[in-house]
């Protein structure tokens, strides 16, 4: 009477759905971080599946650096409307305008997301915050729990993490603390793409190959934008590129690629010699422990 063993993608999907339902059962005011990028789009897809045919019982939150690609913002708003979801947006620009944040000399706004995120969590009294972080992305994330406690300052303390046993998640927290939840912790980049293909999940067009004006900086192709550049000897040139990750325009690079379909992207990811963050994220190149340090301060 044995049923067939679950396929890897089915097992990962079931695990993520279990996590969404645990949070729905144990927390009062969860929120899903949604940027329109592939990992958070996957999160929203899984959340919809976890509660169907009922609506997703949480709103979405986007911390908008103001340095986003127009295609991604258009996609974000369309998905929210199509799926009947609620979206809160925290604009980094508002924090800069009223002096709570100062623009960095290098123009990157990625690290500036932390304060608006923490302020919004406090203001809206969110007690659980879903993120699309995966353990295969980065070494510090490999040690992150699926449910990870943050103190009143939003800080992560890697030395005092709760042991995570079986599929029994302990989300207990004091008032003012909150829990970050990572339902796709155990997915790899390739799992994400295979699942996007299987489920026919729509993504912003910039994940697929297109012609774009870009300039070279620190070995990455950056697009022209309000985040600064090209500067000095940097020259704009048109290239055939796509994005492997989507973040703040100042620190997210494109890769040269002719992949226009999911099959081609999967073939490219399979053959890639670089991790997605190593290839296209300047924010992780700052130091050996850049991600751990940002996470300690309350970043995702």
């Amino acid at each position: 009477m044995t049923t067939p063993v679950l396929d890897a993608l089915d097992a990962l999907e079931s695990e993520a759905i279990h996590i969404f339902r645990e949070v729905a059962g144990e927390f009062d005011r969860p929120v899903i971080l949604f940027s329109g990028g592939k990992d958070s789009t996957l999160l929203v897809h899984l959340a919809v599946k976890a509660f169907a045919p009922a609506p997703v019982p949480f709103p979405l939150l986007h911390v908008d650096t103001g340095h986003n690609y127009a295609e991604v913002i258009e996609f974000r708003d369309r998905i929210v409307a199509e799926k009947g979801l609620r979206l809160e947006v925290a604009h980094v620009q508002d924090w800069i305008d009223d002096g709570r944040l100062t623009e960095r000399p290098d123009g990157t706004r990625n690290p500036l997301q932390t304060v608006p995120l923490l302020d919004t969590i406090v203001e809206k009294r969110h007690d659980a915050v879903f993120g699309g972080g995966r353990r295969d992305e980065e070494r510090a994330r490999a040690k992150e729990r699926i449910m990870s406690l943050r103190d009143g300052f939003g800080r992560w303390d890697p030395r005092s993490q709760r042991p995570e046993l079986w599929n029994l998640y302990n989300g207990r927290h004091a008032p003012g603390e909150h829990v970050r939840v990572f339902p796709i912790s155990n997915w790899t980049e390739l799992d994400v793409w295979r699942y996007i293909q299987r489920e026919r999940i729509e993504l912003p067009s910039i994940y697929y190959s297109h012609r774009r004006e870009v300039f070279r900086r620190d070995g990455m192709w950056l697009a022209e934008g309000p985040w600064g550049g090209p500067r000095g000897t940097e020259v704009l040139e048109e290239r055939t590129v796509r994005y492997r990750t989507v973040g703040d325009g100042s620190c997210t690079g494109a890769v040269e690629s002719t992949a226009t379909t999911l099959d081609e992207i999967i073939a490219e990811v399979t053959a890639s010699r670089l991790t997605e963050r190593g290839a296209t994220r300047a924010d992780d190149r700052l130091s050996e422990a850049a991600m751990e340090d940002r996470k300690r301060e309350g970043y995702f």
Partner: protein, 429 residues
């Protein structure tokens, strides 16, 4: 109504979750590094980062353990502090590896890694054979009922690829494994440093005709023992949709199989009813097995809430307020009889009072010792517990999901212990 890509049907690839355990100098990080490296799961920028960091530390060769040790404190101290999860795949299978460090908080880390593992790889050094740490780790793996065990005898290059050494250690370990209740152990001679029998078959061990480590990981059955156990599912959430008058009970099948038409009992209440639908967002299923998240519709309108358990009506779990259990104590804060704590079982959290402490497992000698006055970190002991709410439980030895629980500290919310219903470890002799 599953949407399938017309471009290419998805190939079925199974997922194997496994854990590695070994003492400090057995070369576990090197073995993990070797598995990742030889399956091409480590990419150029990660290798470069490790090379850069190794040069910074004045090392002549890249230290593969830096691939695993991700935290600042770990790199500064040159040790692995916490369980790390690693991912690699081959064309036939995907692997989630829980890499559990051997020294500090070894019980906490081994218990954590073993709790989700369907297989464990235990390492010994060919020069030292079965040592105290091996016994300790094997005892914890046996207690946690990891279904399959692999013994890797590492550093065989340092004993001249001597078959007699392998045979002697294998015999020693087989005896230990039998006394701990493991039905079978696969023993593989390897050199993680050189790469013998990890991914590539070694030319130095013509006398060995078993599989390589990866070959074994790729071919071992992944079916959990719970697949053939009676049906259990803790209800996590009640899904209601008013427009279509939909009401379903959402959860992940913990054991067995559920089909429309099955008679189930709702516990702890005890009401019986019939399954009318096993739903997913992609449409109804004919059946769902262990590990699958589903939403179950029932024939009768019964009051069911989060925390209740749906179970096969003919073979239900027992419902009780009194638990005889085994605790793995994971906290620096000691446990004394009479403590008032919280207990999380399935989707239910209830208050619990700790009764008398029973025998303590002496992991050095792998035998039960007299009851201690209190439990300290890394202690494993029997205990009696009384819960405020009745719980539907199975012995951990029968069904892991309904036989496991957490003990939680009410003021801090910290997880204090991993709990196992009954005494899952029976020591022979």
């Amino acid at each position: 109504m599953k949407t399938q890509s017309t471009a290419r049907p998805c190939k079925q690839v199974a997922l194997l979750r496994f854990a590695t355990a070994g003492s400090v100098d057995d070369g576990k990080s090197t073995l993990v590094g070797r598995l990742l490296y030889d399956t091409k799961s480590v990419l150029a920028d990660q290798i470069e980062a490790v090379q850069r960091a190794s040069v910074d530390r004045g090392l002549a060769t890249p230290d593969l353990s830096l691939l695993v040790d991700g935290l600042r404190a770990e790199r500064e101290q040159g040790i692995t502090i916490d369980v790390a999860y690693r991912y690699f795949s081959t064309p036939t299978r995907e692997f989630v590896l829980a890499d559990t460090p051997g020294h500090v908080q070894y019980t906490r880390n081994t218990v954590t890694g073993a709790s989700t593992a369907e297989l464990a790889v235990l390492l010994v050094d060919a020069r030292h054979g079965v040592v105290e740490q091996t016994r300790r780790h094997a005892a914890v793996l046996a207690l946690l009922r990891v279904p399959r065990l692999v013994l890797c005898i590492n550093k065989i290059d340092l004993v001249g690829y001597d078959e007699a050494v392998l045979t002697a250690i294998g015999k020693d370990f087989a005896e230990l494994a039998r006394s701990l209740g493991f039905e079978s152990v696969v023993t593989i001679p390897v050199s993680a440093l050189v790469g013998d029998n990890v991914v590539e078959r070694s030319a130095h061990t013509p006398w060995y005709d078993g599989p390589t480590l990866l070959g074994h990981l790729e071919s071992v059955p992944v079916t959990p023992p719970e697949a053939d156990a009676p049906f259990r599912m803790p209800v996590q959430y009640v899904i209601r949709e008013h427009a279509s008058d939909y009401r379903g009970y959402a959860g992940q099948v913990a054991s067995g199989t559920v089909r429309p038409g099955d008679e189930v009992v709702v516990l702890p209440g005890g009401t019986r009813t019939t399954v009318t639908g096993v739903d997913t967002a992609d449409g109804p299923l004919e059946q769902a097995g262990a590990g699958r998240s589903v939403t179950i519709r029932l024939a009768d309108d019964i009051d069911i809430a989060r925390g209740d358990v749906l179970a096969a009506a003919g073979t239900p779990p027992r419902v009780t307020n009194e638990l005889d259990a085994t605790l793995c104590w994971l906290s620096d804060k000691a446990l004394r009889p009479g403590a008032r704590l919280l207990l999380k079982h399935g989707a239910r959290t209830t208050q619990v009072i700790v009764g008398v402490l029973g025998d303590r497992l002496d992991t050095d000698t792998v035998s039960w010792a007299d009851a201690p006055e209190q439990l300290a970190i890394n202690d494993i002991a029997r205990v009696s517990l009384r819960t405020a709410d009745p719980l539907p439980v199975d012995d951990y030895a029968d069904i892991r999901a309904t036989g496991s629980f957490l003990l939680i500290d009410p003021p801090t919310g910290n997880t204090l212990a991993a709990g196992l219903v009954g005494t899952p470890l029976t020591l022979a002799g």
